[in-house]
Amino acid sequence: MIELLRVALRNLMQQRARSLLTLLGVIIGIAAIVALVSVGEGLQYAVNEQFEKMGMDKIMVMPGSPDSPGLSGMMFGMGELTDRDVKIIEKVGGVEMAAPMILESAIIEMGRETAYTYVAGMPVEKKIMKMIEDMQGYEIRAGRDLTESDKYAALIGYGVENDLFDKNVRVRDKIKINGRTFRVVGVMEKIGSRMDDLSIIIPLEQSKEVLNKTDYFYIIVDVKNGEDVSKVAEKIKHDLKKDRNAEDFNLQTSEQLKETAASILGIIQAVFVGIAAISLVVGGIGIMNTMLMAVMERTREIGVMKAIGATEKRIMSIFLVESALIGLLGGVLGIALGSLVSYGVSLAATSYTSIPIKTIVAPYLVVGALAFSMVVGVISGAYPARRAARMDPVEALRWE
């Protein structure tokens, strides 16, 4: 076996350029698979962590029918969530609190400049603020949080502070939202998502006034400790349905949201890995091509080896080991390259989005990729090797 490996390596070195090009095909395929799987897993991990942060005891109630979440509510203007719904939810057993939110884009003015961005109206009761802050993961970087006595006060995101206007917006600056003057009382730490960072948070009552809205974008329900979240969700659904006489709202527990996100990520990852696998198939075709050429070039050699007593099995193994070696080497280098790429992605993700995606090249991935690359090598080499083994010695010896 060691001898076989030595012979195979030597044969490959003989046609260095061709072997390297063939190798490259496998490297790219394996690297793509390793990078995509590890980035995918890192993403999955990051998403899970976000949900952990948000807490698994939350229920989101949104307008729109559950069959087409979001869309029908917006399109037909029906199924609006109002204070009446908040009251019903608060009365359901097991509910700690219900926090309605308004979200709408608005015209923002500062000095002579005008810009558009999102304005979110949130209840300013301390415990609700606290819950929302925990969920969204924002922290105050400068100034202070909104308090119950605030009226025309605003909390601005990182993007609003730095990017919205020529001049940075600071604490105690005055901005106009849809024409009403608000005082900036605090600036938030960078969150990472563009939409969150470009938001301005104002007290709920004032947002109804300046945004001219009475219905809510969604209602966040906090479930009491020790209560079964899905049972509470069922009760809320039942009560709301009875009151509204229609199921024109949509309700999701954090568990469901997490699962939805995970399954979407899973599908995306499967598609990408599928595409990467196709590139590996192309790499395999490259191996087959190279091996067929090698068999043809070495026809005479095969004849000689047969004449001096090599069995068909031996001839076959000589070529199979060669192609398996291309696969294996391609696998090793591909894993190295793929890990490098995924490390690069995690660095880029951390510095550009501030969502720390820790990409993981799991041991199973390494072993799997190695096995897969070798299998590709063996499968692609099987036909050329068989052809070599089956060659007629007389014809092979006379080959010019």
Partner: protein, 227 residues
Amino acid sequence: MRNIIELRGVSKIYQLGKVEVKALDKVSFSIGSNDFISIIGPSGSGKSTLLDVIGLLTKPTLGQVFVDGVVTTEMSNDQMAEIRRKKIGFIFQTFNLIPRLTALENVMLPMWFAGVPDSEKKERGQQLLELVGLGHRINHKPNELSGGERQRVAIARALTNKPKIILADEPTGNIDSKSGKQIMDILIKLYKDEKKTVVMVTHDNSLAKRARKRIKIKDGKIIRRAK
């Protein structure tokens, strides 16, 4: 004297398009152990095909081939390979050394197929190369050797697994006459001193005469046997 090779009514028919070519036509003869036979004939006479059949590189269309008393006609490819490995050594007109391998490695190749352990392979390879007078060139590649030297490497390779039979196809055809004489001397020595059976195909009458027996072949038929 026991027959080491025996052919009974051997015919080899090739299909070239719609034409049937009879490369061998009911050939029968036997070769005893420790003998030196030359097969002579013009090109296209079937002499190379005869050597292929004797060397178990191909099966006859009709008839039977016995090697060392065993009928080979029903054997599988791998069984024939085993006999080639153990009992037959080939020497070709164009040497047929593997260009990537050194002289020593070329000689060691049949031992690899035979599963001989590493240390023994090296030792025996060296001995054989010394025997053919190339002890000082064992690490040279074929393209660094002259034609005569290459053929001597090929002879060493043919001897590695201690075969009883040496089959030589125009062994001096591609080398100068001085080296050719050297090769012939080695072949004669193998027959006389090592007690091998040597079968040599040639179209050169003066070379053929150095063998103990001559078989003349034309159109796939033996036309003359001479001592």
